[in-house]
Amino acid sequence: MSPKLSVSEYIALTNQTLEYAYPTVEIEGEVAGFKINQGKYVFFDIKDAGASVGCFMMVYALRVPIEDGMKVIISASPKLTQWGKFSLTVRAIRPSGEGSLKKSFEILKAKLDSEGLFALDRKRLLPQSPQHIAVISSTQAAGYADFIKILNDRWGGVAVDVAHVQVQGASAPDQIIRAIKYFNEREVLPEVLVIIRGGGSADDLSAFNDELLVREIAGSRIPTLVGVGHEVDESLSDLVADKSAATPSNAAQIIVPDKYETIRSVQSSVRTLLPRMERIVSEQQTEVRALLRAILQTIDRQVDEKLAENQQSRTILAQLDPRRVLERGYALLRGDVTVGNEIQIETKQAIIKAEVRDVTSK
């Protein structure tokens, strides 16, 4: 005979059975009658063409915007309430299908944008050549392997701390959030925080549109670089990060310089020194030659001037030469011009001795 139970006992027993049979169920359906009461409690129905079930959840578990008509996947536990109503207690809810994902994305994007989370003036510059970086990724993901390969190919001497997390699925946002907190609480902060995963479908990448994750990235003390491999649409994590990369490989290209390019640049800068030295030597030679030319010109000019002066003196001297006077027919007279004295008279042709016979004053 079946035991006699009180109503409360019956409900408790039913809930125990449900909990044992269905600790967690994932259900896909469309949202209807979505409402939030007192800012804390969320109620809605999940339905398909043939059925509908009431759902309850706490508002803090709501990580993405939900609206009536959206297709969603819920993780929930079935429960019979004390009023005998069957309900699903929802632990997690996420949009499902392209349309719902897009709608949820746009609503949250508009909300975060209005708060200024994507503003360009919030963006910090990443260090040019970091020596210590933190990476948040799944170490089993192809995207992570790509990142490490390109990083090692391009640069060396970097300390890389890697936090292994899930990068898709319901638990991914919380794991990434914990890893961000972990690095931000370090005594010595990494210089940059890189969050990467390889490409995937819109659903796979929906973790990166989680509101709490986006806010955690926005609040990171460490500059952030998000490299989520997708080419068509950006995730909200991309938009909020200080810098976003198209792929994990691109993230590695952004984070470190290329050592071969650096070597070429270093060699080139040294190579330019020799021509530069040659040019300076040539310039100095030209300057010295010009100076020498100027000195020689000065000497030439001074010699010419001296020669001219000399010539002028010679001309004057020539004009003063007594022989020129004799040539013009005059004579030179030497001796005491006194009557009876003998004097000497010099003409152009002869020297004549003569006696003074008479002297008359003029």
Partner: protein, 74 residues
Amino acid sequence: MSQVNKTSQKTIQQKTIELHEIVAWFDSDEFTLEKAMDTFKKAEALAADIEHDLLSLKNDIQVIKQKFDTETSE
């Protein structure tokens, strides 16, 4: 950190800055022909040192032990 060269205790970045300063000296008013050849040799040696460092230094990749799948802390 591991970018430090063990012999000179200077990072690649410090050496690169030093090289840029040397190159700039050749265009500065302090340039003298007497010092140019020695300075040029210094630049050559520094460039070779940087190249050696860049080609020999490896990244130190550590996957941290902390688990992030639950709320537990370190």
